[in-house]
């Protein structure tokens, strides 16, 4: 678990009401409900960064305090495709073709 710190946060009243509702339904408190939402939002944001090639999967896992396995699961859950760019894929395919010929 990462270290935590207290941040004063101003939120709209409607979100506060929703957090209260979520807390009741989840049998938890409002602060926990808000933290869960923040985690979910952060995960979605970081997955976007990984998909765009702005951070690596390993770094994303570290930032979210998760494993790489969790990241793949989250990406599938959010319907976000992760992987090499088109240009990178073409470079890999060219090398693969070369390796295949060398082995024949």
């Amino acid at each position: 678990m990462k270290k935590s710190k207290v941040i004063p946060l101003r939120i709209p009243e409607n979100l506060d009401e929703l957090a209260a509702l979520s807390a009741r339904e989840q049998h938890t408190d409002k602060a926990t409900a808000l933290r869960q939402w923040m985690h979910q939002g952060a995960a979605h944001y970081v997955l976007g960064l990984v998909a765009e090639g702005r951070v690596s999967i390993g770094r994303a896992a570290e930032l979210l305090d998760l494993t790489v396995y969790d990241l793949y699961h989250l990406a599938e859950t959010h319907g976000i495709e992760l992987g090499a760019s088109d240009e990178q894929r073409q470079q890999s395919r060219a090398l693969a073709a070369k390796l295949a010929q060398e082995g024949q």
């Binding site: 990984v50 998909a51 765009e52 090639g53 702005r54 951070v55 690596s56 999967i57 390993g58 770094r59 994303a60 896992a61 570290e62 998760l66 494993t67 790489v68 396995y69 969790d70 793949y72 599938e76 495709e81 992760l82 992987g83 090499a84 760019s85 088109d86 990178q88 894929r89 470079q91 890999s92 395919r93 060219a94 090398l95 693969a96 073709a97 070369k98 390796l99 295949a100 010929q101 082995g103 024949q104």
Partner: protein, 164 residues
């Protein structure tokens, strides 16, 4: 050399064992920790099976320090970057866009996991059918375009790139 992404995807494709037996593979300690040690600590069953596959078959390379200070990479990828200058003629297996961009700027050759079943099929180590099954297992973890490219290469048997 395999990063966490490469190891996990090849494992899910059912090809990790075969790739390790076919090619001389190495894994930095930082990548091993990311996939096996942390994976087991978080109760991922895949981590235990991967540990069994890697043990005694793959060279685990110690990483003494990270020479690269790159905040957008994790410790596993940084470990690979630290080792690469000492390892000649190394190909890195990864499908991580950020990491591949870094490797490309350094001129380090790389393969994505989806290309390995194709290579193994074209070398006659697995059948086309087995390679196709591996790609089908890999499909949920890779981009759709990567899946179709690999299937096309599998059918064409490398002729696609000979024409280019």
């Amino acid at each position: 050399m395999l990063d966490a992404d490469g190891i996990i995807k090849l494992y899910r494709a059912g090809m990790l064992d075969l790739v390790i037996r076919t090619f001389s593979c190495a894994v930095p300690q930082t990548v091993y920790d990311e996939v096996v040690t942390k994976g087991k600590a978080y109760f991922h069953q895949d981590a235990e099976v991967i540990e069994t596959i890697l043990t005694g078959t793959v060279t685990i390379i110690p990483v003494y320090r990270h020479e690269h200070q790159e905040s957008r990479l994790g410790t596993g990828e940084l470990g690979i970057l630290s080792i690469l200058p000492r390892e000649q003629n190394t190909i890195v297996v990864s499908d991580d866009r950020r990491f591949l961009a870094m490797l490309a700027t350094q001129g380090t050759p790389f393969l994505t996991p989806a290309d390995l079943p194709v290579v193994l099929a074209q070398r006659g180590i697995v059948t086309k059918g087995e390679a196709k099954e591996a790609l089908d297992r890999l499909r949920p973890m890779i981009r759709l375009a990567a899946y179709w490219d690999a299937l096309q290469d599998l059918e064409l048997g490398g002729r696609h790139h000979e024409k280019e």
